[in-house]
Symmetry: C3
């Protein structure tokens, strides 16, 4: 953890740099100090079919889901959600100058008893 999943409409592929957005979102999450580098996985899924509002061809969306393990305070969760959201909004600022972008974010906790993991990437970052 954390898992951060972006969904976006295909019409953003040429108007925004989704790879860069993934990296900015990762940087914002790491900057909170809540997570190890090796634990973070940000990914973006493009949908080719969609119907947004009245189907104006310029209408677009980015939705962000954050899933974290239990154990953070309410304050930490607020900080994390806000930090990721603000960074995404900043990166997408040019698109907010038009009335055609909807950005949203949900943060969710995953109970440890419903979670399994094996992470080989930690080997590159953990010293002990």
């Amino acid at each position: 953890m954390p898992h951060i999943t972006l969904e976006y409409s295909a019409n953003l592929e040429q108007r925004a740099d989704m790879k860069a957005l993934c990296m900015h979102v990762r940087d914002a999450a790491l900057a909170t100090g809540l997570f190890e580098t090796g634990a973070i996985r940000v990914r973006a899924f493009r949908c080719d079919h969609y119907a947004i509002a009245d189907d104006h061809p310029d209408d677009a969306f980015v939705h962000i889901d954050i899933r974290i393990g239990r154990g953070r305070t309410e304050e930490d969760k607020k900080m994390l959600g806000q930090a990721v959201f603000d960074r995404a909004a900043e990166e997408l600022a040019p698109l907010f100058e038009t009335p055609h972008l909807a950005l949203s974010l949900y943060l969710q906790e995953v109970p440890p008893e419903s979670s399994w993991k094996k992470n080989g990437i930690h080997r590159r970052f953990r010293k002990n």
Copy 2:
């Protein structure tokens, strides 16, 4: 909100009009009167790899996730889920004539304290 996400097997790309399905689902959700036009985002994600039942090549699925904010009654939520499900089933009716389609829908509430949003599309619809 609401967020409506469809997942579908790639073998439906030629057998169903997924863009039209997104629009029908949007229309059904808006017709409930529970949502503003500018708030709705329906999107469909195709999976290229899948294993359904015994892997018959004609087997296909459509799954719909609806996520809404808090504040609707249980009755409203039932009505919404049923309306969207019925419309999707109607649109996919020809495929139900074969024993090869599974359709499903889940509806989920998102707590406001775990949710962030910025929606430029509302500007085109809200008068005040």
Copy 3:
């Protein structure tokens, strides 16, 4: 049910057989005896954009979400999650020899009152 959704980074497309992984995951779920053949839908979504850890080009992830209906014991759920996770880890074993793969799994229950379904595939498997 069950719904089993895999997400994976696009750099695995050439390094792992994702179709085969879907089938192995399905087999592992069916082998628990908890589900009917006609009920199972495993699907895998590729993300083309992502940022994993420090963005090493070899870093990759597979994440598995399992969603099931209510009614299984805690023991059954543990068994199911473990069986699917172990099978996926086994299939991806060559990738775990490098410090570049993160595998994870979440299991979630869906309340029946928030769930709608119509499954034509059962006709091929149910005798009565």
